[in-house]
């Protein structure tokens, strides 16, 4: 197997935690992993991305080539669009629809959503609203990871185990909260895909 993921968002939205959980799950599966991160100046409210590559064969490049990503997983809708040139022809975009507006010239959010809706393979969900509704407001990134789980090709229980391991030292309550967030994201994604099929 080979899975190349671009994680994107705005500094501080927690994309590195998503990467860490997928990485944990892959490590336990005995897969090869490379994950390039962004640290430093760009973390201050700027756009951030991480290239996560998982494969059953050794991986050479730390970075994903243009047109090479199987999935763009984004905490922010405009940030999902930023990396479209990296998406492969049959690639998926899984994105939070809630905009993070910290710049004066943020585009009309409806135009951003329309661009996303026009993609052949997309899962869109308001992860922030879902997190609030399910009483897990601090686990928005886990809602998004749950939403991506149907298309990642990694067993869902392996992802759950990754969550357990990553948050174990923070206690059972934190683990449970993140597992609930994961489940509600997964359910929302299934629902979104079903509705899109019916249209």
């Amino acid at each position: 197997m080979k899975l190349d993921i671009i994680l994107s968002g705005v500094g501080g939205q927690g994309i590195l935690s998503i990467a860490a959980i997928i990485g944990e799950a892959a490590l336990k599966e005995g897969l090869y992993i490379k994950q390039a991160e962004v640290h430093g100046m760009s973390q201050r409210g700027g756009d951030v991305q991480s290239n996560l590559r998982i494969a059953s064969q050794p991986i050479s490049s730390d970075l994903i080539a243009l047109g090479g990503a199987d999935v763009i997983l984004s905490m922010e809708p405009m940030e999902a669009l930023r990396y479209l040139p990296y998406l492969s022809e049959n690639g998926w975009v899984v994105t939070n629809t809630a905009p993070f507006i910290n710049i004066p010239n943020y585009p009309e959010v409806e135009t951003v959503w329309n661009d996303l809706r026009s993609l052949p393979h997309v899962i869109m969900l308001d992860a922030e609203r879902l997190a609030k509704e399910h009483n897990v407001p601090r686990a928005v990134n886990m809602v998004l990871l749950g939403a991506a789980s149907p298309i990642l090709g990694i067993d869902f229980d392996k992802i759950e185990q990754g969550v357990r391991r990553l948050f174990a030292r923070k206690g059972d309550a934190v683990v449970d909260m993140n597992l609930r967030a994961l489940a509600c994201g997964r359910e929302a994604a299934h629902q979104f895909m079903a509705e899109r099929r019916d249209k």
């Binding site: 705005v10 500094g11 990485g23 944990e24 490590l27 090869y32 992993i33 490379k34 994950q35 390039a36 991160e37 962004v38 640290h39 430093g40 100046m41 760009s42 973390q43 201050r44 409210g45 700027g46 756009d47 064969q57 991986i59 050479s60 490049s61 730390d62 970075l63 994903i64 080539a65 243009l66 047109g67 090479g68 405009m78 940030e79 669009l81 930023r82 479209l84 040139p85 990296y86 998406l87 492969s88 022809e89 910290n102 710049i103 010239n105 943020y106 585009p107 135009t111 951003v112 661009d115």
Partner: protein, 538 residues
């Protein structure tokens, strides 16, 4: 240890150094090198062994302390970002002149594409300049293995070893299998003590010795396990792939490359192997991240009419980091079909955090200086460099660590008024203190703002060397006590801060204003740590 670990390149270096019997790591935080020291600071093994891991004031003090560790026979690692080596250069170049006793590895993380830096200088030039061996890993596993080898090599040849990472190696994670853990060295003193006293008479002797070692170092490159010639049937082209460039090359040839490939991870340049490749191939393509270090040297070395291509020839972009895509183009491999970018994407530049004290400082400063005609504000390196961007547009220069004070002084010497310097607390202790002394000695008419957030914020909130002592440092240097003013940068204090700035600009001499309020990122972290501690106790 059988366990496989998922480590950043930086963390792999740190673990390798610990397992190689490290006695101390010496560093000033700088992206992308910071996580090496942080990993050692958090390591249980380092705690058990009492490995020194406190941050240093700057890269020069770090380099010199590490050389002191080496002097007494123990192993030291010194870490910095590429521009940090400019600060440490005097000590670094001369550490090759003294030679080393215990293993000394100088780890420098370059930042091609300038993700978090003001230039993309290539540290390999410094290694060549100082006549020391250079290593650059291509994988995280190699980074771990290489730092162990680098310590051994350093002790074998009696020289510091420069180990070079680039951003993508430093900040990319992969699986690493650790090796055995070695004991630390016992204390021992140099067998040739005069080598360490670089009086001209000794230095001349040492320089001859150092130059005489170069052939041996080149032979060690030829036989290094990190270098290697991979045969290929297609002699139309040979590829020299340096460090991480090897990955971008092999990404295109999962079944093996049909061109001959030389994987280059240890220098000085193994000329014999490269001449052999040149004799066989019509062209040599040099893939290297950073500047054309190998390509330039090859042009002077190869005896054959072989064509050399790379960054200088235009086969690869002259600036910016290597990517899978520009390497594909250089190899003539077609790029993947890619979707067009959406026209609804706009840039999202980094910005000062909401609630950050630097914001209030700039707000006040802007309001006051705009009352004057010919003011200039000289900035410095840190989060507050973002004050150059909208909405503040508050600074007119940012060059190198500490330059705000000295540039303001120079401009004031030349007649500028008001000449204002803005510098952070950590940058002030790194390289601002000596400049302030110059300003005091010539009674320069400058206003220095030391924006004190009690941490080294830009790199993630490391300790700042002068916390709690900034006023006494300024007074000790000789700034008039009436003109060392402390304010709390909050919107509620705007009038007071503006009045203070106005008074100190009007004062004809050196004045220092210290707006002091903790970085809101470290404030949040400290609050969280306190909460966790409380809940653990409960």
């Amino acid at each position: 240890m059988e366990e496989k670990l998922l480590l950043l390149g930086d963390e792999a270096v740190a673990l390798g150094a610990l397992h190689a019997g490290l006695t101390g790591v010496y560093a000033y935080p700088g992206t992308p090198s910071t996580e090496i020291t942080e990993y050692i600071q958090a390591s249980e093994l380092a705690k058990q062994r009492g490995v020194h891991c406190r941050w240093c004031t700057n890269e020069k003090t770090a380099m010199e302390a590490a050389l002191g560790v080496s002097y007494v026979g123990k192993r030291a690692l010194v870490c910095m970002k590429h521009v940090g080596l400019n600060v440490a250069a005097d000590a670094f170049v001369n550490s090759a002149m003294t030679g080393t006793n215990g293993g000394l590895v100088v780890l420098v993380a370059d930042d091609p594409s300038m993700h978090s830096s003001q230039n993309e200088q290539d540290s390999r030039f410094y290694g060549k300049f100082a006549f020391v061996p250079i290593m650059e890993p291509s994988t995280q596993q190699e980074a771990y293995d290489m730092v162990v080898s680098a310590f051994n090599l350093s002790e074998q040849v009696g020289l510091p070893v420069l180990m070079r990472l680039t951003t993508r190696m430093a900040h990319s994670r992969a699986v690493v299998t650790p090796g055995p853990v070695r004991e630390q060295n016992p204390m021992s003193f140099p067998t040739q003590p005069a080598d360490w006293v670089l009086l001209p008479v000794n230095a001349r002797r040492r320089y001859t010795t150092l130059l005489g070692q170069q052939e041996e170092l080149e032979q060690l490159s030829e036989t290094s396990p990190f270098n290697g010639f991979h045969e290929g049937p297609n002699k139309r082209r040979g590829v020299v792939a340096c460090g991480i460039a090897y990955n971008y090359l092999m990404e295109n040839y999962p079944e093996g490359c049909d061109f001959p490939v030389y994987k280059l991870s240890q220098y000085p340049l193994p000329k014999q192997s490269l001449c052999r490749m040149a004799a066989e191939c019509e062209e040599i393509l040099v893939l290297e991240d950073g500047q054309p270090f190998v390509e330039e040297q090859l042009r002077g070395v190869l005896p054959t009419p072989c064509r050399i291509t790379g960054r200088l020839s235009g086969a690869l972009p002259r600036t910016g980091e290597l990517t899978p895509d520009n390497v594909k183009q250089a190899l003539g491999v077609p790029n993947n079909k890619a979707m067009a970018a959406s026209e609804h994407v706009v840039p999202r530049p980094p910005a000062l955090c909401q609630g950050c004290g630097h914001r209030d400082m700039y707000d006040a400063l802007n309001r006051v200086v705009r009352e004057y005609d010919n003011y200039k504000v000289f900035g410095d390196i840190g989060c507050y460099t973002l004050g150059a961007l909208p909405p503040f547009r508050a600074i007119h220069a940012c060059v190198d660590m500490g330059a705000s004070i000295t540039m303001a002084k120079g401009a004031a010497d030349a007649g500028l008024w008001p000449a204002v310097a803005v510098i952070g607390d950590s940058t002030f202790t790194h390289s601002g203190i000596t400049g302030l002394l110059d300003a005091v000695n010539s009674n320069a008419n400058i206003t220095v703002v030391i924006s004190d957030n009690l941490t080294t914020a830009m790199t993630g909130g490391q300790d700042s060397a002068g916390t709690g002592r900034l006023e006494s440092i300024c007074l000790g240097i000789g700034v008039d006590p009436a003109h060392v003013r402390v304010v709390v940068p909050l919107p509620a204090h705007m009038e007071e801060i503006m009045q203070t700035i106005r008074e100190e600009i009007e004062y004809k001499g050196v004045s220092v204003i210290i707006p002091r309020r903790e970085c809101i990122q470290t404030l949040k972290r400290h609050a969280k740590e306190a909460r966790n501690k409380k809940s653990n106790e409960a």
